[in-house]
Symmetry: C2
Subunit: 87 residues, 2 copies
Amino acid sequence: MDWTGYLAASLTTCSFVPQAWLTFRTRDVRGISLGMYGVFALGVALWLAYGLLLRAWPLVLANGITLALAIAILAMKLRYRSGPAAR
Amino acid sequence: MDWTGYLAASLTTCSFVPQAWLTFRTRDVRGISLGMYGVFALGVALWLAYGLLLRAWPLVLANGITLALAIAILAMKLRYRSGPAAR
């Protein structure tokens, strides 16, 4: 049963790597939602805090990596958007 | 301590709503990574399975909603991409 959770955590964490790489390469952030990455990064930071409170290290590790990737995508969204209109 | 987890789950789940809405409105999927949403949807499906195995209903509920949103974004990515090149 545990392997299902570890595999799930690995996949949801690693999934942000191709998005970060695509955004880094193309700088095309128009289709990326600022609202999503803002709320998502906040949520993942809370998951990290929850893992620390529980001393649940797999939760801390997975959410630490996901938070770093989400913040990278959020930073690129803010850096590369051309117009003043936030989407 | 539990409220941290519930708030974290609510935020990470709800964060996909603005992305799904932006993509639905603009049909601009060029900056969205197919790899991300493919791997992410698979990972969330496994989180859902893990929740069902543990009979952990908050996990089932949050991941059920997230899965529906991720599949919607993935479907729009596949539907609206203009060129043959998958990104």
